[in-house]
């Protein structure tokens, strides 16, 4: 996978993850172009489109579009599966996720994505394992935080 974008129906970018090195300018251009193309498609249309020399796989969940770019050889259906998995993970983590969850906790959304995909490849296919890793990392963070606040109090 080359990159993943999340954007709202209004075309606002909610999350972006690039697995190929590109300049900021290029990224912005691609984002703008894709958001436009995908939003222009009618609801009954299929989830795939060819774009430049890549294939775009997108899916809409409520008000959010999840959009992935894959290479010519890649499997579109498994990419849809990846998108779906990610949505399920977000759902489990936030408890019936909505767009606002992702806006206000965007770093968490990234952490979950990073536990699920690495370098554009699925690293963990078990939802349970991903959530476990996130929970434990969060726990570590909590511990850190409390010790930090205690430290501040003491000093």
């Amino acid at each position: 996978m080359q990159f993943m974008l999340l954007f709202s129906r209004q075309g606002k970018l909610r999350l972006q993850k690039w697995y190929v090195p590109l300049s900021d300018k290029e990224k912005k251009k691609i984002t703008r172009e894709l958001v436009q193309t995908v939003l222009a498609r009618k609801p009954k249309m299929c989830s795939f489109l060819e774009w430049r020399d890549l294939k775009i796989v997108y899916k809409r969940y409520a008000s959010l579009y999840f959009c992935c770019a894959i290479e010519d050889q890649d499997n579109e259906l498994i990419t849809l599966e990846i998108i779906h998995r990610y949505v399920e993970l977000l759902d489990k983590y936030f408890g019936s996720v909505c767009e606002l969850d992702i806006i206000f906790n965007f770093e968490k959304a990234y952490f979950i994505l990073d536990e699920f995909l690495l370098g554009g490849e699925a690293q963990e296919t078990s939802k349970k394992n991903v959530l476990k890793a996130i929970e434990q990392a969060d726990l570590l963070q909590e511990n850190n935080n409390t010790s930090c606040s205690m430290g501040l109090l003491l000093s």
Partner: protein
Amino acid sequence: MALKIVKGSIDRMFDKNLQDLVRGIRNHKEDEAKYISTCIDEIKQELKQDNIAVKANAVCKLTYLQMLGYDVSWAAFNIVEVMSSSKFTYKRIGYLAASQCFHEGTDVIMLTTNQIRKDLSSPNQYDTGVALTGLSCFVTPDLARDLANDIMTLMSHTKPYIRKKAVLIMYKVFLKYPESLRPAFPRLKEKLEDPDPGVQSAAVNVICELARRNPKNYLSLAPLFFKLMTSSTNNWVLIKIIKLFGALTPLEPRLGKKLIEPLTNLIHSTSAMSLLYECVNTVIAVLISLSSGMPNHSASIQLCVQKLRILIEDSDQNLKYLGLLAMSKILKTHPKSVQSHKDLILQCLDDKDESIRLRALDLLYGMVSKKNLMEIVKKLMLHVDKAEGTTYRDELLTKIIDICSQSNYQYITNFEWYISILVELTRLEGTRHGHLIASQMLDVAIRVKAIRGFAVAQMATLLDNAHLLTGNTQRNGICEVLYAAAWICGEFSEHLEDPMQTLEAMLRPKVATLPGHIQAVYVQNAAKLFATVLQKHEGETDSQAAQETSQLLIDRLPLFVQSANLEVQERASCILQLVKYIQKLQQKNVEVAEEVTALFAGELNPVAPKAQKKVPIPEGLDLDAWINEPPSESESEDEKPKVVFAKEEPKHYRSRHTEVDEKELARRREVRKQEQANNPFYIKASPSSQKVYDAPGVEHIPVVQIDLSVPLKVPGMPMSDQYLKLEEERRQKEKAERKKKEKKKKREKRGKGRKADSGPESEEDITPAHQVDIVTEEMPENALPSDDDDKDPNDPHKALDIDLDKPLADSEKLPVRTHRPEVLKSPAEDRDSKSVPQETKKKSSKEKKEKKKDKEKDRKQIKPTVHWFPVQKSSKHKKKKQKKEKEEKEKKKKKRHHHHHHHGDAGGEDSVQNGTVEEEEPLPPMSNYSLLAENSYIKMVYDIQGNHQDESKVVVSVIFENKSDSFLKSMEFNVLDSLNSKLQRPEGAGPHDGLTVPFQLPPGVSNEARFVFSVQSIVMPQKLKGTLTFIVKSDESSTHEKLDFKLHFTCTSYLITTPCYSDAYAKLLESGDLKGSSLRLEGINMPFHHLLARICFHHHFSVVERIDSCASMYSRSIQGHHVCLLVKTSDQTVSIDAKCDEPSLLGNVLDEIKQTFSKC
């Protein structure tokens, strides 16, 4: 509760957290930019504070702003600061920010190398995790080079969580630093059999990605993947493997044959659409690669087509789309199987989803034949009429033209029909493809001579009705076809029925509204028509009419002389003068027609688009050399102003030019022709193509004998449909005739005993309605056959085309961080190393403290020694620990001492001893292959590997390297079997027959062959004598040679690297089934982790746990014996306590370990 309050107050201390920022942005929708600029100012203030928590909060906000499109590159250094925080909370935010904001151009990335290395080796797996994740996003070639070795070590980490990430990120490292591929590949390969499914799937992912780009280097892994494919149930893994096979089969057709069966089984059994789709795709790829060798896979193709039909018929748009996509792949090799589903595909043209309609169109492109072209195009024309939205309609239009013109108009049997189609397409309003239609009209009219008459008639009608087409005068609009129409009518004016009428149409005042380039063609071709008309009138000695024609031009042309378009103006004024002169001559009753026609004499031949590019540069011609001495700079500057004042001259020149009389013109033309004939660089009609035109018959084989296909004289626009009807009738008629003939022939042929073909109408049977001669485009003589400029030189995967089967050379080791940089360095490295030591110094004191803490934590968590000495009590345990710590400190001091010592006198020694301070010291390169035998012709090295699947077999991989200048062939490998170990020979071979090595060796080439041995007992090492015989073939002679060798089956070679969890390891030791033994090695002065790596590498162990200078290791034999080691080191002495359920095996393994270390 109390904590919460504390946290709350601290949160308030931060000026604004992320949530506040987001909320603020949402509340300032009107003046967002202004609001954010104040926020950025705040963030800048926050970043200046010392408190890391405040900084992290600021960086987190920046990451959000970066996503909104704001430039945050100025904060790159602050991001690095946050990354370096020891607190996981902040580190996590820092790495996230880095992964979102850093790219190859970010210069602070250089500074992160050490921090990342530290995080990678952190005892906390989540620290390592975030570092790996972040690195995967911003890894640069420098980072990849410096960290490759660290990441490679992590591939054997005890935690599957880390192993899995490390394996995946290796792919990014390979891309950035291709040199790391070969050294890291053996370990990557090992991970394919990792006990953790996640790690295994990661390894499959990486190898599949690598192999897809450069499949030929991964062919040797095919058996392993085949095994994985048949055993795995994880669809994610299966998809990857199947995709990999799709890439491998074109290189190894035998593999394809093997694959068909399991793949078809999967197709039948799986319920996962993604897997089904992948299988179908791969089966198609396999069949494509097999199609030359094995034609009989119609069952599989049928199965695929059936499954795809189900997909296409599904109501899910996604499946429909993919079904069509896959269908188009089958189409390329098995068009017949797809053609039978034409109905389904034509149905898809009615789908409401445009992307599906386009896919269906693509399919149609490949499905046409001579037989069905007209029918399909008719359907498409209907869709053109119905289509909503210009994009789709334009797409249809281009597809129709593509379909018809594909492979040099191969499927068109009736060009009149095609011209009619083109003319009908001109009725589309608002299309952007006027130019495309125009170029088709030109192409057909120029290249198909027989059609010119018809084409000219149609074009004349178009010109007559030009007002219908001029509604849209934008560039590339439909009016472009007038360009073609005017040119065709002018150039082939001899075919015009009423040239006068066309001439009149071309000079209408309305023409002046057309785009300039079209007007120019109008004017030029009006002149051509004028010549034709003159000739006609003079032939009829109707001088009155001729003069009227001249007058018409003189009346109408001034409109064009005033044109704003330079080209139009120039041509018009030129021709106007000419006509005026002609009129003068006409008034004197001079016959001018012949001379006027001579202006446009000669035929224009089509020239291939690439012709100019392909003219070979003649020998001795240097295009870069100056023809004249280059003018000096000052001169050219002087000249420039002059040009400004020289404006009037050209006008003068022009008027003179037009007054030159016809004879002079003709003479000059002759001279020019002569010049051109002598000029080797002028592209002229080659004699061969000239022949085509001169050949008798082309011109005269007009329109067959059948009256029906004579051009339809439909006034106005033609109807292509009528051609369709006619065509059908014609074909039936022909068929009937042919049958008659065949009957006759049969009667004749029966005597000869040959079978006549009387099957259904085949492609070849359809004769074209017109005898057409499609003139090929001209190419210069000696044109180069093809230029391969298609390949992208920037493809990063190109660099990974590396042979992985060759044994590792010493020069290929991964770069390691040496304490003191070597003398020879590239400037880039220099820069790096300068910044690195400073950083380490700064942090070293802090780091030490942290490290100590971490170590203590670590001990509490893992307690490895408990497994080993289960009876010991905790108090003793503690003492021992303290003692060990002391020992360690001492050791460190000593080591440092050593280090200086080495630098003092042994600078030239290998890297193992060169600066061994920290454990992170990277490994020297190692190879498992050891020398088998060698002579002046050939060198053999070998490695023995077992696998868990078969407890009585080991595989000996032998690399044969041809050292001579001759060709080595007919190599035969033979071994004298013992009772215990036998070489596996093919069925039917005798027990003493040798095995043929399945390749030959050209000079200097090496290749690897594998031999399977069966073994009964593995507790003892064994040596087998053997011989390699081969023929040395040089230019003059060939000789038989042989080379004796001894294959040494060590006990180590029966061990297989098997990772073990620490709890399982503890249980194993507690079970008491294992017998102990021990070993002491003196004088080992390599770093501990080198020592462990050597044991892992050479003796197939894996580290279960490691604390400081103590490590527990595990391995398993092919027959399931557990071998456990506890390795401790202190002061150049290494003691190994070992346990195994088979004492003699253990004894031998320990002996072998001892030997390994005595060698170095």
